[in-house]
């Protein structure tokens, strides 16, 4: 099993590298698409089925189409012949490499306990709150018997209703802004 995990992770990483390093924008886009599919599979394996479906449906099926059309729209021979990287590529590379090595080392070394921090806080605060936290957990466990899309929708529409509405407003604004930018004669 571990082998499959590593294979998947390597695939995603390779696709990400392809996005950043490939010379032609369309190859970038296609490898990002492949990477998103990989991430979708990863989500599926992590029992986040709804997110996986959303990832494939919205990201891969929707957004990437727009990007591909964008690439085709702006593609030209002249663009292909110009240098694809900035002069700041090397400094950026070393900076990012350093960041990755340092933070990555720390992240990989840190211990992630299987308890949500809420409970630990509750334990520290006292028995009374611990009981309420435990009931919350039990409720979650009851919910866990439901299918994942149902869980996510319950969480989305009960616990996160306002952020959800805010996101829809954000999307509307973004669409309006996109249309405005693309339409208006600058």
């Amino acid at each position: 099993m571990a082998f499959l995990w590593i294979l998947l992770a390597a695939f995603i990483a390779a696709c990400a590298l392809g996005v950043v390093l490939s010379r032609s924008p369309i190859t970038s886009a296609v490898s990002l698409l492949a990477g998103f599919l990989g991430v979708g599979i990863l989500y599926l394996c992590l029992r986040a089925e709804f997110v996986a479906a959303a990832q494939v449906l919205v990201y891969a099926g929707g957004i990437m189409v727009l990007y591909l059309i964008g690439v085709m729209f702006t593609d030209s021979e002249a663009l292909r012949l110009t240098r694809q990287a900035h002069f700041q590529a090397w400094p950026a590379f070393f900076l990012v490499l350093a960041l990755f090595l340092w933070m990555g080392h720390r992240l990989y070394r840190s211990e992630f306990t299987a308890e949500p921090p809420v409970l630990r806080v509750a334990v520290a605060a006292g028995a009374d709150q611990e009981a309420s936290a435990k009931t919350a957990l039990a409720e979650r466990a009851g919910l866990a018997k439901e299918s994942n899309p149902r869980q996510v929708s319950v969480a989305l529409f009960r616990d996160f209703l306002y952020p959800f509405e805010a996101a829809s407003v954000l999307l509307t604004v973004a669409v309006l802004g996109g249309v405005f930018l693309a339409k208006k004669e600058v």
Partner: protein, 371 residues
């Protein structure tokens, strides 16, 4: 129903059995049976896809006062074999202007999504073996079900876009641009019409939706008539068939696969028919009760003769799906082709508001009448 079956399926491994047998059991259940199901399903789907082409051509022949293919084998039944052979033997040409990598990748992108969707379709009630085990007629009865179908089928567009663009020719480029805007326009009404059914059925899982129809005693075509109409129209548009076959439009721009030949073209061809079959199958499950036998108390029959019920269910399902396939051929034989701007107008201005209103309508219906 299927959840019941799964718990029944786990009954086999009792503590008394030897450890070795258990490993064997586990291996069989996690790898063996799914793999066997995949192979069987793939073979069945490929056969059906091959013969849906024959079905369409014979039917078109009848519609058009001619015979259709009838030379290869009895009734022309070997025609798909001959066609496949021809496609395999033809020269595979990559145009000089094409981007070879993407040009070769595009048929793959078109081909696989078309077949992935079949994995979540529930074909019949679980099959009971003599040892008391139940095997669901489904490769992956996941919670996501229909959502996965939508997600995966939205990927098919990449084959078309990439194929059209990488050909390095103007006609395919126009075909792929048409296709991109068409699929984006019609995916939303399609999804919304499916959402209406999900509201009615209360689940993404196709077997649950069928069970909900059995429980309701009526197929969802009745409460979801509007959704059914929207689904039919946008499904035709999504599969690029007449009267929405603009990406191909053989008398106008020839289509996104103009530059393809041989088996690469064959992949696009097969993908189109696979999509048509998938859309028909999904429509049959969502709106016509899937494997439910009309006029028969399925639960009672299943209790008495489980395997008979399953087998009949498969046939009922196939017949219902064939109805849709027939419908698609029928409109292909009847209608002219829409124009590009008219097509987009129908998608955005007509279907989208109807589908949105329908979702609200069905939600109210669900709240007040069908609780």
């Amino acid at each position: 129903m299927s959840r019941l079956a799964r718990s029944a399926g786990n009954r086999g491994s009792t503590p008394r059995e030897a450890k070795r047998a258990m490993t064997y059991e586990v291996l069989l259940n996690t790898v063996g049976w799914p793999l066997a199901k995949i192979v069987v399903l793939l073979a069945a789907v490929l056969t059906v896809v091959a013969y849906i082409g024959w079905f369409e051509r014979r039917l078109l022949g009848l519609f058009q006062s001619r015979l259709g293919p009838n030379r290869v084998g009895p009734l022309g039944l070997l025609q798909p074999v001959a066609d496949g052979l021809k496609l395999f033997l033809k020269e595979d040409i990559v145009p000089l202007n094409a981007r070879p990598f993407l040009f070769k990748l595009a048929p793959v992108f078109a081909f696989f999504p078309a077949f992935l969707g079949f994995a979540v379709v529930s074909w019949a009630l679980p099959w009971a073996t003599p040892s008391g085990r139940h095997h669901g007629f489904v490769v992956a009865d996941v919670d996501l079900g229909i959502l996965l179908v939508l997600a995966v089928s939205s990927l098919g567009i990449f084959g078309i876009i990439l194929g059209g663009w990488s050909s390095g020719s103007k006609y395919p480029l126009m075909g792929s641009l048409r296709s991109a805007s068409q699929m984006l326009a019609y995916e939303i009404p399609l999804t919304l019409s499916v959402i209406a059914v999900i509201l009615l059925g209360g689940s993404f899982r196709l077997s649950d939706i069928v069970a909900a129809q059995q429980k309701l005693g009526a197929y969802f075509i009745l409460p979801g008539l509007l959704a059914f109409g929207v689904y039919l129209i946008s499904a035709v548009a999504e599969t690029n068939r007449v009267p929405f076959d603009l990406p191909e439009g053989e008398s106008e721009i020839i289509g996104f696969h103009t530059e393809y030949s041989g088996m690469r073209f064959g992949f696009f061809f097969v993908a189109e028919y696979a999509n048509m079959v998938l859309i028909s199958v999904i429509a049959a499950s969502l709106f016509l009760g899937g494997y439910d036998l009309p006029g028969v108390d399925d639960a009672a029959l299943y209790a008495a003769h489980p395997n008979l019920a399953s087998a009949l269910g498969v046939f009922a399902f196939a017949a219902k799906s064939a109805l849709f396939a027939y419908f698609y051929v029928w409109i292909r034989a009847t209608f002219p082709r829409y124009r590009y701007d008219q097509l987009l107008r129908i998608g955005w201005v007509v279907l989208l508001p109807i589908a949105l209103a329908n979702v609200a309508l069905v939600a109210l219906l669900k709240l007040w009448l069908l609780r």
